[in-house]
Amino acid sequence: MKTIKFINKKNSLVLGLILLLTVGCERELSDDVVSATFSNTAEIFTDNFVGLGSNFYFPYSDGFAKPDIFEVDSEVSYVGSSSLRIDVPNEIGDPGGSYAGAFFRIDGAGRDLTEYNALTFWVKSTGAPFIQSFGFGQSEVQDFQTSISNFQLSTTWTKVTIPIPDASRLTEEKGMFWLVALPDNGAGYSFWIDELKFENLGGLGQLRPFISNGQDVTGIGFEGETLSIAGVGVTANLANGQDVSVVSSPNFFTFTSSNPSVAATNVSEVSLVGGGTATITAQLGNTDAAGSLTVSSTALAPTPPARDAADVISVFSDAYTNVPVNHFNGYWGGSTTQGQDDININGNNIIKFTEINYVGTEFLGANTIDASQMTHFHMDILIETPLQPGDFLRIGLQDLGADNAFGGAPDRFGAITLRSNTTPALINGGWVSLDVPFSSFPGLSTRANLAQIVYVTDGTVGFLPGSITSVFIDNIYFYR
């Protein structure tokens, strides 16, 4: 016991030096000092912050998170004299921001959390909002970020338990606590946190790790891509018999590939190194994780040929200089489509739309494109979703006419529709390169003020025929 105490104090930043000198006289301790190098202090907040140093609070710098969201509240406590109050702003009207999001990290050396199995705290609120995330493992890095999601607060004190997937990995963790709390139907609220600390709960057990949310998922990746495996975490059983699930960093896991010449694994990293198919599974410690990811590793889209700048107007490519684009996904009303130009494989940018029913890419106002001197439209498309009978992808071009505005002078719209029996044909899992003359877009009689590219699959609309929900797109340009 004495040795452990000594090591604690030695690494406590606040008291470090003084105690080091004081206990330095206790000669019998020196033999054991080697093994534990970092503080194993459990407490983060009791009646105030514990051992975090001075510069420990980092509100998110996304421009929306309100910077000043917390107060040490001496009016309210679960145990002791005070608690940590978080004030979530209203969604609209607060000049500080529209939500509460921040991490608390140690200003100094990290802690050794290997002897704990959960982050716990007590919480109560002014209402019953759902909190998007409570977690640990977030600082300047997120190597072992872990969180619970969608936790509903109440007006009585409730204990929150966030299981640690594998504490043996947390030998030097600085990220003590983080949270994302959005307004509740637009309205702000407050909640109080007390006794925020790491614990070794004997009542916590039956850890069941998972990847891909425990499902056997298939998908497409690109040669050269470092895969990010989604839906990774553990479900654990609490003393009261209730399950609690956390999502965590894949860094807790060891991944295995069924085909290393397609997908190579290095502990937690999975890289696509060749063409073909490989199934990725994972272990947490010695426990197999539920779920898998079967990935078809595919070549990138063909590199467009070199062209004179006068012969091409590029909307999205890495081969030509692109014109300004307002957005690749306008998130129009009624659209379920997620994602846009999010993928970058070693400098090769790719658009990925998921959950697509329809989506529009826009270049408006001064950005409209005069393609009157061009003759053809080019686009590379890869359909990730398995094709069903009736599936289609419609690609439309919208021209605004001479007034460069919607309405007024005639707006023109033309579209092509691709199916599995058209030329070119839609296929699943491979790139299709479109080189379409403008004459194939019926109705598009002008093209001096092109403003939109519209994609329609009806993929997420149950009563409509399309079932394509996931599409990669690359190399969008007009040429002659």
């Binding site: 709960l201 009542g203 057990g205």
Partner: protein, 281 residues
């Protein structure tokens, strides 16, 4: 029973006692004597791989229909077998495994073994070291029934002593009960014991009773948590003359535990490290 075995058991037990002494020495006011019977008369350490020893254990097979009590009188869902998938000795342990599978008209299989007709005793200390299965709908038990005198006496008159019963959705709680005439089924005399910092499904715990004339003491590990005497029961005390046999089983579903749900993980195994019986003298 050879002396060497007995000795090693006793010395192990002495260690346990020493441990408990250390713990209670911190709270002298709460000092209690957990057990007093130390004369080991019967044990199974499950050290020989294969089926449980036929000298010690017999089986109940089926879903209770053949015995006239479909669902074993509790709307249980399992079909008991003696297949190694459901009951086996290996790794120095008895493993009773509940499996979700269609079998003989049931949706689950499991096992139930008994010392009926092989070892029965009145009074004594009966204990087992067990790690429980878990999950909604699992109902593991270590319990005893009184001899039925060739079928001439029926339950609950024969008496039932439940040393350990657990609901799989309560991983920290065990129940100790007696059933007898006037206090059976839902009216049994029962008390639960809850671990404050541990679980019954992730580590082994010792479940036992010490039973003498007009009392049954219930303990878990080094904690004596209940004594039941004739004053506690609402009917005839049927535990002073009849010999009792032991039963180990894992039931699935039924009136005690409720049925499994989508979150219940199968298969589920009850691990029994040993069963030991000490006489009263």
């Amino acid at each position: 029973m050879n002396y060497k075995n007995k000795k090693s058991v006793v010395s192990k037990y002495a260690f346990l006692l020493a441990l408990s002494l250390t713990i209670v020495s911190c709270n002298p006011d709460e000092e209690q004597t957990v057990v007093t019977f130390t004369n080991l008369v019967w044990q199974d350490n499950f050290s020989t791989d294969g089926a449980p020893s036929a000298n010690s254990w017999t089986y109940d097979i089926g879903d209770g229909t053949a015995q006239g009590i479909p669902g074993w009188g509790n709307n249980e869902l399992q079909y008991y077998t003696d297949r190694p998938e459901n009951v086996v000795v290996e790794d120095g342990m008895l493993k009773i495994t509940a499996i979700q599978e269609p079998y003989m008209g049931a949706g689950y299989t499991s096992a139930k073994i008994l010392t009926k007709g092989l070892f029965e005793q009145t009074y004594g200390r009966f204990e087992a070291r067990i790690k429980l299965p878990w999950g909604q709908g699992l109902w593991p038990a270590f319990w005893m029934l009184g001899d039925d005198s060739g079928g001439s006496v029926v339950w609950p008159q024969i008496g039932e002593i439940d040393i350990m019963e657990n609901r799989g959705d309560q991983p920290t709680v065990t129940h100790g009960s007696v059933h007898g005439p006037g206090y059976s089924g839902g009216s049994a005399i029962t008390k639960s014991y809850e671990l404050t910092d541990g679980r019954f499904d992730t580590e082994f715990h010792v479940f036992g009773i010490e039973w003498g004339p007009n009392y049954i003491n219930y303990y878990v590990d080094d904690v004596l948590y209940n004594q039941i005497t004739p004053a506690d029961v609402t009917g005839e005390w049927v535990f002073n003359d009849n010999p009792f046999y032991m039963i180990l089983n894992v039931a699935v579903g039924g009136s005690f535990s409720g049925n499994p749900n989508a979150n219940t993980v199968f298969p589920q195994t009850m691990y029994v490290d040993y069963v030991r019986v000490y006489s009263r003298d």
